[in-house]
Symmetry: C2
DNA sequence: ACCTGAACACCGTTCAAGT
DNA sequence: ACCTGAACACCGTTCAAGT
């Protein structure tokens, strides 16, 4: 992130007693805390303490906690593997892309929840959007469908990651899901009872299965707006 | 919710100076607060104040805030319109069902966010699960597919409601999305630039379009597990 | 311009003490 | 058994004061 105008070393010992603050250090410190302690453990005060300062100091670089969240999300999304130049068919590349996105969200707990409540509009989010639009367009999906389609795919990936994150949420854990399911009455909810195990099964394949289903649906789906060749919105 | 063993009126004036606490009053008071002030305005202390007591008193009826959230969600889901006995084709009934679910989440701000972070396992959630499984089964979707399919549909509905709720989130609002999009560079992200308006368009039809796409995908999707006619799980 | 301590107005949860 | 006040250990954000 440093623009890097080369600088001479000024002091003998380059161990600044206190690293100078900046958006970048704040964001990466916050991501460290998120990784270690989850979303519940993340606060401006903790970030400030980790940087050996007070929370008020952060307000020079951030408007508020929401902005930190948005910056964290976009910074984390830098790790998403963008699709390589053509080689595999578009659909395989799209799936790899989406699974990479999913994995990034999975890896650090809390990031997915953050993604659900934050409007991501930084450069990395935009790169991801653009990349997916390219692939869908390459796959022959029309403009309108592609836009809504990317939104649908990203929303699903984010949601499934957030859901899984909850289940791993330190205190409650998967246990609560299991005990809730095991208490289901066979007489009252026979079908739910019957699919109890299926519901917990699947693991990694589950998301891939769902993404396949959504992509299939997208390919078959009708165009978003009335199909008139591009009229100015005249009704009928 | 009253089981209603008939009771004689005891006092002359039946205006209890203080309504007795119970899970039900706590939950419905909390839902009122959610409706008025959103998720950010909801706290145990506020619920307690509204009930003219202290936060500590609530712990007789609730293990913690998480439990209140779960109870609130399930209580709110009572408003979801279950599908009527057969009449319309299963697919229409499924869509109506899902749209009713969506509407309930839309109606009170914060409920969807709550749904994303809470494991819903109360009677109303189970009724909804059971109802959807019935419809998919009626539609000829196999068992395994039906289970994952309901999960996919519900997750999507919840996620899209939560996303919309964020955009309406009092302070930031839709404005932030718009300004973020209008700042998109035409040269760097041409496809995103091109679909800016499409992205914001759609409103109600959008969710319906997406649900159609997902259902289509579901109907075409392969079965979750290996497709052997129902072996006991022997591999190959 | 940047940083700071102290304050303000909140949180969830616990606990000893009351009835 | 139920309720309570006070306390504990936190929050985000603001602001006057320092450099």
């Amino acid at each position: 992130m440093n623009k890097g105008t080369p600088r001479e070393i000024v002091g003998r010992r380059t161990r600044p007693a206190k690293a100078p603050l900046s958006r970048d250090v704040i964001v990466s410190t916050a991501l460290d805390i998120l990784e270690r302690d989850g979303l519940a453990g993340l606060s401006l005060r903790r970030v400030a303490t980790a940087l050996d300062t007070g929370a008020a100091s952060l307000y020079v670089y951030l408007a508020n906690l929401d902005e930190l969240h948005a910056l964290m999300l976009d910074a984390a999304l830098a790790a998403v593997q963008l699709p390589k130049a053509r080689g595999l068919p578009w659909r395989n590349r799209l799936k790899k892309f989406l699974l990479s996105y999913l994995q990034v969200l999975y890896e650090r707990p809390g990031l997915a929840q953050l993604a659900m409540s934050t409007i991501a509009a930084g450069p990395n989010s935009l790169r991801i959007w653009e990349g997916m639009l390219v692939l869908l367009t390459e796959g022959g999906v029309e403009d309108g469908k592609a836009a809504w389609g990317v939104d649908l795919l990203i929303l699903y990936v984010t949601a499934i990651a957030a859901e899984q994150s909850n289940w791993r949420g330190q205190d409650q854990g998967l246990g609560r899901v299991k005990s809730a399911l095991s208490a289901v009455s066979k007489d009252e909810f026979p079908l739910v009872f019957a699919i109890k195990e299926t519901l917990l099964s699947g693991g990694n394949n589950r998301a891939e299965w769902a993404l396949d289903a959504i992509i299939d649906g997208l390919l078959g789906a009708r165009k978003p707006s009335a199909s008139k060749a591009r009229g100015k919105g005249g009704k009928e």
